[in-house]
Symmetry: C2
Subunit: 216 residues, 2 copies
């Protein structure tokens, strides 16, 4: 049994998600930084660990390499059940996974660094074009997300009741990302309230980008 | 208790995923088609069901509306355990979710209709630009996916052993999508073999786009 290793990057919001889950579960881990803007994740030593060349990758204590932040977080939740990151009932789990995937499938992938870089390289997108693209796709999903959270009796102090979980993890990481592109959070009071509630918790604070060893 | 209702579109690959899962579980459902190219998913009656205005949305027998294909499929797997769509062990589940999310997070979102439409509208992308964009992001993930599947002793007749599951569902829907943009599948013999094995199964055949009532 070895130490858990997290290959990640302070500013990567998918890395941030996994760091929050590790902190919530009380798991210590070795932090290995890969500077995305310097292309360190596309070099052979890291590709030998993760052929996809993306962060995060988590090396479990038995040497298994796990990719994809939501898959990693559900694995951690199964290995260390307390505190639970998903509700106990199937409909509750479906709701939390839905909220998480609205962010993880419909916002983050179209706004991550590799896509923004491609928009510049392939279509000559300017800084303003890139910022507009980012904000557009955030708003396309944050509008229905806000509506769902505001209208559901299942929303509490956090996305699902009064304990933080998988959906809150994704929400906080996205809200942090939004700040880099000056997304107007005015139309999203419920999302903002939940993010603020999360940021009072030690696990979310310790996992925040600015508190990582590779933070600039 | 009412009938299960699936709001979907024959050509939507996320709809295709849910249709396969419903067929595998032996669940009958009412098929409600929304023609994406005509914008039917953005009209008020559907927005009242699904504020996100995307397909698929599944209305469960108790009236709950579930969004996000992977969340829906895991819900179906929890409600109807046989045949299982995820392995019994946590590391196996993490591997299957990882393979599914490589497709569901890293390929599909950047290549779906709303993104391709935006590339045309915002950046003046031509048909050739759009096809190149689509193929680029498929190849970026299919290369490591092929490598992972080819090198893992856990790969069998399907992505994980000899029974089809969540990863195969995502793989088949993506391979069907690829055909629309002439993605060269030559470099992907393992992915192609698994897709072919799936397409021998009644659930995958019945769920295929061309076999839906709204197919053109």
């Amino acid at each position: 049994m070895s130490e858990i290793v997290l290959h990640n990057y302070f500013r990567s919001s998918t890395s941030y998600r996994v760091r929050i889950a590790l902190e919530m579960k009380g798991l210590s881990y070795a932090y290995v930084a890969h500077h995305l803007r310097h292309g360190e994740h596309r070099e052979p030593p890291y590709l030998a660990v993760n052929p996809q060349g993306l962060v995060p990758a988590l090396v479990w204590t038995d040497g298994h390499v796990l990719l994809q932040s939501l898959a990693i977080i559900e694995f951690l939740d199964e290995m260390v059940p307390e505190p639970p990151l998903l509700p106990a009932d199937p409909l509750g789990r479906a709701r939390v996974r839905m909220l998480a995937q609205m962010i993880a499938c419909d916002i983050h992938p179209v706004n991550n660094l590799r896509i923004l870089t491609s928009l510049r390289a392939v279509f000559g997108a300017s800084d303003a074009d890139v910022a507009n693209w980012f904000r557009h796709w955030v708003n396309e999903t944050f509008e229905p997300l806000e509506k769902i959270l505001a209208e559901s009796p299942e929303t509490g102090r956090f996305c699902h009741g009064d304990a933080p979980g998988l959906a809150d993890i994704c929400l906080v990481a996205q809200v942090a990302n939004n700040a880099r592109f000056d997304v107007d959070m005015g139309p999203y009071p419920v999302i903002s309230r939940i993010a603020a509630n999360c940021m009072e918790l030690p696990a979310f604070i310790k996992a925040a980008p600015k508190n990582q060893p590779d933070a600039e």
